[in-house]
Symmetry: C2
Subunit: 422 residues, 2 copies
C-alpha cells in the first residue's frame, strides 16, 4: 500500500487531535483511499515538550524546522502552531520545498493569505485551510465545490464559539459579561487573555476568509468593521428576549450593488431565525444565494477532534491531488476588492439610550428619511432620567451615524447600539 | 477556451432550471474553470414538447436517445427525467458509451443504484447524483469529502419538503391533513398524486442513499421501515405543542453495535432541537459522528434552481475529472449490509390511545422492563371513553411491539403512535 509521509508543526490541541484522529481513522482511510498516512516527524517548541511526550509517539520529534523541510520523503506539512511568526516563515519554506501545506491558522491566513496562496501556486502545490474557519464546519470546501454555479449575496454567521458561549450563559442565567467570561475561562471555552475573541477580531478573521471564498475578494482586516461583546448589559438581554430577539455576535458579509460590506457586530436576532438557536460553543453560518436561496451550516466551531477532522479532510484532498499528479487552488475565485458605500448599506438598529423627553426623540427620528419604523419601545425610570430601548428599522449606515450624532443634541446618551436581524 | 458538450435528458422543472442556471452562471464558470459548458442536444418526450419550445433554445431537440448517445462530442449526460424506465436504460447506454452521467433520480438510485455505479466504474466514467438527495443541500459530496476520517453514527433529517410543508401548515393553522394537502397541491408543493411523498417512500429513497454514503451499506428498500403522515390528527399536534414538541416526518439511519437501522417515521421533536424549526418546504439533516460530534445541513430540498445547482456542481466536478484525465466513484465507502436487531433499537414513543382504566395501563407499562419513564400524560373525556396521550421513554423496539399488542387486552385502542426525539 502507498505510504504518504506528513510533517506536523505544533503539538497543541489541534495537533494532538490530528494525531489521535489519524490513528482512529487509519483503517477507514486505508479502505477508502488505499493509502497509509504516516506522521513521520513533528516540530516541538521546546526540549521540555519533547521530554513530556516521551514514549507517546511513533514519530520523531525535532526542534529544527529544517529536519522537516529537508526531508524529501515528507509530502505534506500540517501547520497547527497558530500566531503569525514563525508559522508564516515555516509555511513559506515548506511551500518552496514543494510540499503541500495544510493550515488551521485563521490569524495568519486572514492577514497574509494572498502571499501564501501565491507562493503555493508558484510552487505548484496545494495549500488548504478548511480548519481555519469555524473549526469543524466543512464550509470553505462546500463554497468551492457547491457554489461555483451559484451567486452568493449574503453570508451571516455565528463564527466565534467563545463569545457565543458567553452570550448563551448571560442570556440563560442573566449574569453579567464578567461573570460569564470567568465561567467560560474555567471550562476552557475562553483563553486567559480573551481579547481576540471578545473584541471580535477572531470573528473578523473568519469573515475575511469567508468573504474571499464567497465573492473572490480578499479584504484587508481594516476594511472589516468590528465590535465586541464587552459592553453588553443584562438590560439589553432582557429587552431582547421580551421582544422576541436573542443577542448574538454576528459576522455578516453582504454584497450590495456597488460592492461588499463586512462587519462583526453584536446583533439582535429574531427568535424565528435558526441562527438565534445556535447556542453555547456551536457555530452556524447562513449563506444566501441566487440558486440555492438559503442554507445553514452548523457544527462545533472549535475543539480538538472537530477541527482535526477539517485538517484530515484537507490531507485527504491532497492525497487525491497526489494521486492525480496535480495541485489545486483551494479557492479559484478572484475579483478586485470593491467596497459598498455607506449610503447603500441598509440595516435595522436597536438603541439603548438615556433620554429626557420622548417627543424630542420622535422628532429626531422623523428627520431620518429612511427610518421606516420605530418599534418595540420600552422605557424605564432610572433616578431622574428615563432609560429607553427601541428598534429603528430600515435605516442606512449614513442615517444611523447622523442619528447617533444628534442624540447628544436632545440631551440623550447612547448606552448601547446593536444591529437587528428579523 | 475549452468547450465541453452536454446532453440533457428531461425538460421538466429540474431540466429547465439547469438550462437557466448554466446560462446565468456561464461567465463565473468560465472565470473559475476556464471552460465553456454547452448543452448541445436535449431529449424531449414528445413532438408536442419540441413544438412548444420552438425558438427558446440554442441546442437541438431530439426524440431519439441515440442522437445523444452516438454523438462523440457529448462528454456529459444529465438524466433529469425521473422514474425508473426509460431513465435507467438511457443511463446505462450513456455510461457504456463512456460518457460521464449526472442524475437527480432518487427513485432510480435508491432502488438500482449499485447496478449503475458498477457500470460507471466498469466503463471508467464518473456517475454523480448530488441532486437526488435533499435537492439543494450539498450533502453527499460533503459526506464524501469531509467525513472520510470521521465515523458517522447517526443521520436524522427532514428530507421530504412536501410532507414538511403539510405538517407546518397543519401545525400553524390547526387544519386537518386533508385541508393542508389541498393547500400544498394548490401551491405546487405537492403533486396531484402525492402517494410517494405522504406515505414516506420518497423520504425512504433518500435515507437509503444517505445510509450508503454514511456507512457504505446499500440497503434494499424493504429493509427501511416507513410510515407516512396521513393519519396525523390535530389532536396529536395539540398534544405535541402543549408538551414542547413539534411533529415532523423524520428519517433516521442509526448505527448500533450489531448493525444499522433505517426508518422514516412521524416523530415528536423537542422544540429545543434545531430540527423542530425546519419548516415549510425546507429540508434539514443532522449528522452525528465521532469527530465532528453534531452538524446540521439545511437548505431547500426541492425547487428548480436549488436542485439545478446540485446538478451543475456535479457537472463542475466532472470538468475537474476530465481535466485530470480521471474518473471518480462518488462514494468510495463499501461495506456488507448488516442490520441492527430489534433488541438493540432503543427509542421513545408517543401514544394516542382510547382507554377505560388508567390503572390497567399503568400495570401494562410496568411490565415493559426498559420503559424508564412514562411522561406528559394527558386525558380527555370523549363520550364514554377516555382518550389518553402520553410518552414512554427508553423502550426498545421489541418491548414497544409487545406493549402495542397488549393494549387490546386492557380494552384499549391505539389511535396513533409516533417516535419521540428529545
Amino acid at each position: 500500500m502507498k505510504k504518504i509521509k506528513i510533517g506536523l508543526l505544533g503539538l497543541g490541541v489541534v495537533g494532538s487531535g490530528s494525531i489521535d484522529l489519524l490513528r482512529s481513522s487509519a483503517l477507514k482511510i486505508k479502505e477508502l483511499y488505499h493509502v497509509e498516512l504516516i506522521i513521520s516527524k513533528a516540530l516541538a517548541h521546546s526540549q521540555a515538550s519533547i521530554d513530556k511526550r516521551e514514549g507517546l509517539d511513533d514519530f520523531n520529534l525535532t526542534l529544527d524546522i529544517d529536519d522537516i523541510i529537508n526531508d524529501p520523503e515528507i509530502a505534506i506539512v500540517l501547520e497547527l502552531m497558530g500566531t503569525i511568526e514563525p508559522a508564516k516563515s515555516y509555511i513559506m519554506k515548506a511551500l518552496k520545498a514543494h510540499k503541500h501545506v495544510i493550515s488551521a491558522n485563521k490569524d495568519l491566513i486572514a492577514q497574509h493569505g494572498m502571499e501564501l496562496i501565491t507562493c503555493a501556486n508558484d510552487n505548484k502545490v496545494s495549500f488548504y485551510y478548511e480548519a481555519a474557519v469555524c473549526g469543524g464546519i466543512p464550509l470553505l470546501r462546500t463554497i468551492t465545490n457547491s457554489y461555483a454555479s451559484d451567486d452568493i449575496n449574503k453570508v451571516i454567521g455565528i463564527v466565534n464559539g467563545t463569545t457565543n458561549y458567553i452570550l448563551t450563559k448571560m442570556n440563560e442565567e442573566r449574569v453579567s459579561y464578567e461573570v460569564a467570561l470567568l465561567e467560560a475561562q474555567r471550562l476552557g471555552f475562553a483563553e486567559s487573555d480573551p481579547t481576540n475573541d471578545v473584541l471580535g477580531y477572531d470573528a473578523a478573521f473568519k469573515m475575511g476568509i469567508l468573504t474571499y471564498f464567497a465573492y473572490g475578494m480578499f479584504l484587508k482586516q481594516e476594511d472589516i468593521i468590528k465590535d465586541g461583546i464587552t459592553n453588553i448589559k443584562v438590560d439589553d438581554l432582557e429587552y431582547a428576549t421580551n421582544n422576541e430577539y436573542l443577542i448574538k455576535l454576528v459576522g455578516s458579509s453582504i454584497k450590495y450593488s456597488e460592492g461588499i460590506y463586512v462587519e462583526v457586530m453584536p446583533t439582535l436576532i429574531n427568535k424565528k431565525h435558526l441562527l438565534a438557536h445556535v447556542n453555547n460553543e456551536m457555530n452556524g453560518v447562513y449563506i444566501y444565494s441566487n440558486a440555492l436561496k438559503e442554507a445553514l451550516y452548523y457544527a462545533p466551531g472549535a475543539g480538538a477532534l472537530p477541527t482535526a477532522n477539517s485538517v484530515i479532510s484537507d490531507v485527504l484532498q491532497v492525497v487525491k491531488d497526489i494521486n492525480n499528479n496535480t495541485y489545486q487552488r483551494f479557492n479559484h475565485y478572484n475579483k478586485p476588492v470593491s467596497l459598498a458605500s455607506n449610503q447603500e448599506i441598509i440595516a435595522s438598529y436597536y438603541f439603548n439610550i438615556k433620554i429626557n423627553k420622548l417627543d424630542d426623540l420622535k422628532s429626531l427620528i422623523a428627520q431620518v428619511s429612511n427610518a421606516k419604523m420605530i418599534t418595540n419601545v420600552t422605557y424605564k425610570e432610572i433616578d431622574d432620567n428615563k432609560q429607553g430601548y427601541f428598534i429603528i428599522k430600515d435605516i442606512n449606515n449614513n442615517e444611523c451615524e447622523c442619528f447617533t450624532k444628534n442624540i447628544i443634541n436632545i440631551n440623550g446618551e447612547i448606552i448601547n447600539k446593536f444591529k437587528v436581524i428579523d
